[in-house]
Amino acid sequence: MIALAERQSPAGDGRETLQQLVPMVYEELRRLARRQRRRLAAGQTLDTTALVHEAYLKMTGHGDWQGESHVLAAAAIAMRQILVDYARQRSALKRGGGLSAVPLEEHSAAHDQARQVLALDLALRDLAAVEERLVRVVECRVFAGFSEQETARALSTSLRTVQRDWARARTWLQGAFGNGGLS
């Protein structure tokens, strides 16, 4: 992912460019997941934590979390897109439109989370109109799974700012849901 690190100039929003990253992140995840799968015995499940961690390391091209903060921020956005796409695809399955051979059970944890992710995505689109920065924080925390410290690093901001933004985003999101505007 050298090019990924190179291409992301910190200037500007860069969302257009970021869209191009989605397939790369997707491929990287697929490659790592397949590699891990090959090393596992049958019946063992993938170690998603290790896998995702490895994916971030690959993307930054470094052995640590410090470098390439903007790459991590970009990855968070890509992860949002990937998960939302997937959640959408899974919801479509329920109506029999999908291709997958493994239908999602109505009340599985993954199913619940798919609905949550779709609801969150919708809410974030509204939130973007209010304050884009909060959206970035939510993407880092929820979709990329970064800790507060990692989020601060990814967004090149202070830990306190992240904590404050996160609290504000939560309040706003809970409000949006509480009003029954989303389902």
Partner: protein
């Protein structure tokens, strides 16, 4: 909505973000699943017959026209991802049409393409039946001049496409085939770009900066790695890599691991490799030094504009080189060596001599004549079985250069098979014989194309569900299993088994043997219980049809023993191994490879049980046996020495253990590839032992080498890499603080 539907951010965060939660798990699990098409599936106007290849972003199937009176077979390439939007789709369409306009005898034609019902794009290409150019060169033992001539054809074809403003972008040996008629065909021209919906046009100019998407890291040009524009010069670079490989038989770049950082280091910063330095012999080195070195290095320059301006210029340079050198006639050493082989074994092995003579004199002719004389099929099968046996057991007859001789006889035979085109039945059978023989010799790369060709012929002659097809499928399955491709092995065996079950009685031995193969695949997936069921079915058939003392019964008992061994049912495992051993000894005598197999397993079992004296005796017997059979430096013997070392170390016989490990290391170094995992295992074992016995200084370089090797093979996170890192840390600690501080971490 409220209640259960309310957004619960805390729960999303609880598992460490959505990607690590249940949704992410489901997503990643689905990512690794193969979404392959099956036989009979329709894509556009084409019906899928079977998968024939798999690339980074697409799967290739053999397919045929579903709507036509005539049966046209094609290669159907299906992208594994849908284009993102309508614009990307129309670009795909547009570029496809440009590629369809390429008409050149050495470029596989793009016939059709489109988007299937699922929105997935596909392309249909001319089906090329041939071998990879590198394998073709090896197979036919082409001289340097012949290789250069073949390569010039490739370069000219690329030059033609460049004149039509199409860049290949993914030139590599597997994309360049040579047909049985010796005709070069380039595959996948411009497909890399076509399959890349994010990228702009296929034109070389104006260049667009594209997202890095190196399809084949080993063949990436520096500008591709750096994400810079890909132009005709990138093709010239890749041609340079191909030429390097054709001349030396080796890859130009030795890429460690799969890190893209490493890729950048090697491709963009490293010195371009000099072919003559990779020459496998002094003679080849002399041939490559000078002209050919500089031609390859010019093609491989880091800066695109310092390479040959076009592939045509590269070809022209090679032409000048060829004209400037006198032809060197080489005596054909084959018949001389074959004669020697025959003489050496005249008395001892008259039957082998007879076959060897028929091989040297007319590999195909013997069988062909047998057919002509209307000998019954059984007879022909016997001859074939005999031949296969000879070569499967070729190395045990004597140590040393014997393998080479057998191989040469075989290589010679293969050339004759190619000339049997008017007799496809015989050809198909002999291809399978030769393929199985190469497999027996462990020359898997040569075995594969022959068996594949045989399979194609059998299919054409007798159809998918025929015994001929099923037999070759079984043979290919064994090869795939030996190559570690369990998945393919399983698929082939299931196909063969289904045919056998339709056409043969339920208790036919071929059914049994396919079951044994399938059981081995399942064992690979840890599906031990299913595996045991199949083995017991096979055992019942074999006992009934071949008798309880048949070697195949012994083989199955050994497999069953392995299953009990894995289940820690050590009593049952020991019983099964001993039973298997007794059968094999009775069937083959004490000195046979099949005897070594259960013996080895028994040794491992005894070590597990802590019966070290017995284990030592068994491993010593295995080593004696292998040494007598294969000579002292058979790679497998290295593993046996390693086991013996473990046993001796467990017995606190450190001197004995050290000697055994050293022996193992020496054989690995002499007989296995430099980066074979067994070599690093031997280094690790020896290093650890030396640390344990207070010789840390001696151990350090060994452990360092083992760590570097394992790191390269498996990455720093793998259990074994970590074990070596720990051993090295212990070693450095033992060396004390007199040395400069350093941390031991398996870094990329």
């Amino acid at each position: 909505m409220k209640g259960a539907e309310a957004l619960d951010l805390d729960r999303l965060l609880a598992s460490g973000g959505a990607l690590r939660g249940p949704l992410g798990e489901a997503f990643l699990a689905e990512l690794v699943e193969e979404k392959a098409l099956r036989e009979g599936d329709l894509v556009g106007r084409y019906r899928v017959l079977r998968e024939i290849g798999r690339g980074g972003m697409s799967v290739v199937y053999l397919a045929e026209r579903a709507d036509d009176a005539f049966q046209q077979r094609v290669a159907l390439k299906v992208l594994d991802r849908a284009p993102r939007d309508r614009e990307a789709r129309s670009r795909f369409e547009q570029e496809r049409q440009i590629l369809a306009s390429l008409e050149h005898p050495n470029i596989a034609r793009l016939l059709d393409g489109g988007v299937d019902g699922r929105g997935v794009p596909y392309i249909v290409m001319e089906l090329v039946e041939g071998e990879r150019i590198d394998q073709y060169c090896e197979q036919h033992r082409l001289s340097v001049d012949e290789r250069l001539a073949l390569f010039q054809v490739v370069a000219q074809a690329v030059a033609y496409a460049h004149r039509r403003l199409v860049v290949h972008r993914d030139l590599k040996p597997s994309n360049i085939l040579v047909t049985a008629a010796g005709e070069v065909k380039l595959l996948d021209f411009g497909i890399a770009k076509l399959l890349d919906p994010e990228a702009a046009g296929v034109f070389a100019v104006p260049p667009t900066r594209t997202v890095l998407r190196v399809l084949t890291p080993e063949y990436a040009a520096p500008e591709q790695v750096r994400g810079e524009p890909v132009t005709t010069a990138s093709d010239v670079y890749q041609l340079g890599l191909v030429l390097f490989e054709l001349l030396t038989g080796r890859r130009a770049h030795d890429l460690g691991g799969d890190s893209l950082v490493e890729l950048e280091r090697v491709v963009c910063a490293g010195e371009p490799p000099r072919p003559s330095r990779s020459a496998s012999s002094a003679a080849l080195r002399r041939r490559l030094e000078g002209d050919l070195d500089s031609i390859v290095l010019t093609a491989l320059r880091k800066e695109p504009d310092r390479r040959y301006p076009s592939p045509a210029d590269l070809a022209a340079d090679l032409e000048r080189h060829l004209k400037g050198l006198p032809v060197t006639a080489r005596p054909d050493a084959l018949l001389y060596r074959a004669g020697k082989f025959v003489r050496r074994h005249r008395l001892a092995l008259a039957a082998v001599v007879a076959v060897a003579v028929s091989l040297a004199g007319g590999f195909g002719a013997a069988l062909w004549q047998a057919r002509q004389a209307r000998l019954e099929a059984k007879k022909a099968t016997e001859v074939k079985d005999f031949l296969v046996q000879i070569f499967e057991r070729a190395d045990p007859f004597e140590s040393g250069g014997r393998t080479v001789t057998a191989r040469e006889l075989l290589d010679h035979g293969v050339q004759r098979i190619a000339r049997l085109e008017e007799e496809p039945e015989v050809q198909a059978e002999l291809l399978a014989v030769a393929g199985s023989s190469y497999r027996g010799l462990g020359v898997y790369d040569s075995a594969q194309p022959l068996l594949e060709r045989s399979l194609r012929l059998q299919r054409r002659l007798h159809g998918e569900r025929s015994l001929g097809t099923a037999d070759v499928q079984s043979s290919l399955a064994l090869l795939a299993f030996k190559q570690g491709d369990t998945k393919r092995s399983e698929a082939l065996l299931r196909a063969a088994l289904s045919t056998y079950r339709t056409l043969l009685p339920a208790d036919d031995v071929r059914v049994a043997d396919a079951l044994v193969g399938l059981a081995a695949c399942l064992m690979d997936y840890d599906r031990d219980e299913e595996s045991a069921v199949l083995l017991r079915q096979a055992l019942a058939i074999r006992k009934k049809r071949s008798g309880p003392a048949d070697p195949q019964v012994g083989l199955i008992l050994n497999e069953l023993g392995m299953l009990r061994h894995r289940a820690r049912d050590l009593d049952a495992a020991e019983r099964l191994y001993r039973e298997s051993l007794a059968i094999q000894r009775r069937a083959y005598g004490p000195l046979h490879p099949e005897v070594a197999v259960p013996l080895h397993n028994l040794g491992a079992l005894l070590k597990t049980r802590g019966r070290l004296t017995e284990a030592e005796a068994v491993f010593r017997e295995v080593i004696t046996l292998e040494t007598k059979l294969y000579g002292g430096d058979y790679p497998g013997t290295a593993d046996s020495w390693g086991y013996l070392g473990h046993v001796l170390r467990a017995r606190d016989d450190f001197a004995g253990a050290e000697a055994a490990y050293r022996r193992s290391l020496a054989i690995n170094r002499a007989k296995r590839a430099a980066d074979h995992f067994a070599t690093f295992g031997a280094l690790h074992n020896l290093g650890k032992l030396l640390v344990q016995t207070g010789r840390a200084a001696e151990a350090e370089p060994l452990l360092r080498e083992a760590l570097a090797g394992r790191n390269k093979l498996w990455g720093p996170e793998y259990r074994k890499t970590k074990e070596t890192a720990a051993a090295l840390a212990e070693c450095l600690a033992a060396l004390g603080p007199a040395r400069p501080q350093e941390t031991v971490r398996p870094l990329h």
